[in-house]
Amino acid sequence: MKRTVIPEIKKELIHKLATEDTREDGRSLLQFRELKFETGIIGTANGSSRLSLGGTEIIVGVKVQVGTPYPDKPDQGVLMTGCELKPMAHPSFQGGAPSEEAIEIARVVDRGIRESGMIDMHKLCIEPEKKVWMIYLDIQVLNYDGNLFDAATMAGVLALHNARILDINNPEGEKVPLPITSWPLTVTFVKIKDSIMVDPTFTEERIANARLTISMDDNGDIRAMQKGLNGALIYDDAIRAMDTARELTFDLRARLQNNP
């Protein structure tokens, strides 16, 4: 449903369905929507991916350029993550500068990737204090139906793995992958009344009281978290979410890795 005012009776229905461990689209509360993706689709980008998670459809492009390092990290490369929620993607999105919502998404995706240590920032240094590789990760939303946190993290990680850059030691030779190893992923939960569910749709996001995004590394350790929306979680919610996120990220990671 595209409308911005969610009908009251629909809210009540979602509450009732949730108590029976089901949802409008027939999923169980802890089930992700259908995931599809491909990589290397944009010739002008160093790395790219297109991913759809149910009705949410995005393209992530990675551009890698030479730039100057930050003064406090003179021997490290730079990662910059950008996201815009453009009016193309949903009738409720406005044009103009990125919204608070878009900036939060970009920062949470960035944090999960950065804190996992996925990218060896030191290896992106070309000449300390002068030249480093700058990685620009830009998230382009084509169609929005909720849970951009998880979709963008997956697409971002795929695009980073897909990226190829000039080999500094052998500029004439083949392009080389980025110095990356792992597959950090996030799982986003929303709390609707007393029920917790993963991978919310647009409608579920709109009626949720609270949201929790958990970034996990390959070992199932927590690398970043973000609680959102103006409602609250209780202690048990957080603990149970950790266990669920661990299980789900293992499964999602296997699916991403199995499709080169």
Binding site: R3, V5, P7, I9, L13, G26, R50
Partner: protein, 278 residues
Amino acid sequence: MLRPKCSNNVLFLGYTVSDNKWPANAGRHNLGSDIMSQIDIQENERRFVVPGEEIGDSSHRSGMGTYARDGKVFASQTGIVNIRSGYINVQNFAGKYLPRQGDSVIGVIRDIGPNSWFVDISCPYNSMLHASETPWKIDYGMTGQYLQVGDVILAKVNHIDEIKNVNLTIKEHGLRKLSSGQVLEVDYTKVPRVIGKGGSMISILKERTGCKIFIGQNGVIWIDGELDGIAKATQAINIISRDAQKQGLTDTIREFLGATESHEPDEELPDAGDDLIE
């Protein structure tokens, strides 16, 4: 790279809707209760056109989805050509619902004024329900006590003024606030697909889910019944909306819904619901 997804809107592929009121109702789908008997297959006459294609000469008058230039008639929309009472029309596959006086619609309250409500009926124009168009006697400023933002109403288009403001009414018998169930939205052009040929699809939906189902002319659908039934009907209608162009849709839905549920007794059709399909 990107392929067309579940493409929308193929309905009427192979069907044309004859409309007795033509041309006064210029090609609009008449979703009246007798619509099913009016849908008939005209395989041989089917011609699919896109905007700009020449579809007739001066022997025809330009009807819906067409325009006339230099003594000829051209398509202005994507759809199937039909000729009726000397008019040539294109039955469109996509487009926005444009309200007409007398239409039965389902809307969602999106804002409240001191003596009126702003209602989302999925059309390009502002639509309103004035306090005087309700069965209640409402004091100025007390509208919020009767209908709140997010409430769903079964309403009728009372009047469309010269600046395209749509005025609704819930005064007539059967029109009301809907206080339980599910609200779904499909492209209004897909409504006939949800109803099915001769009402076949809607009968299957109702029989096998045990739900009451109302379809507004604006493509908004209200379902009420047992939780299980609502869940099934919701998914089934989403499949119809997604796969509207596919063949064998009735069988797909029959298969999806499985065994027949106990059938709830039909609710009496509201007087105002002549245009509603229950």
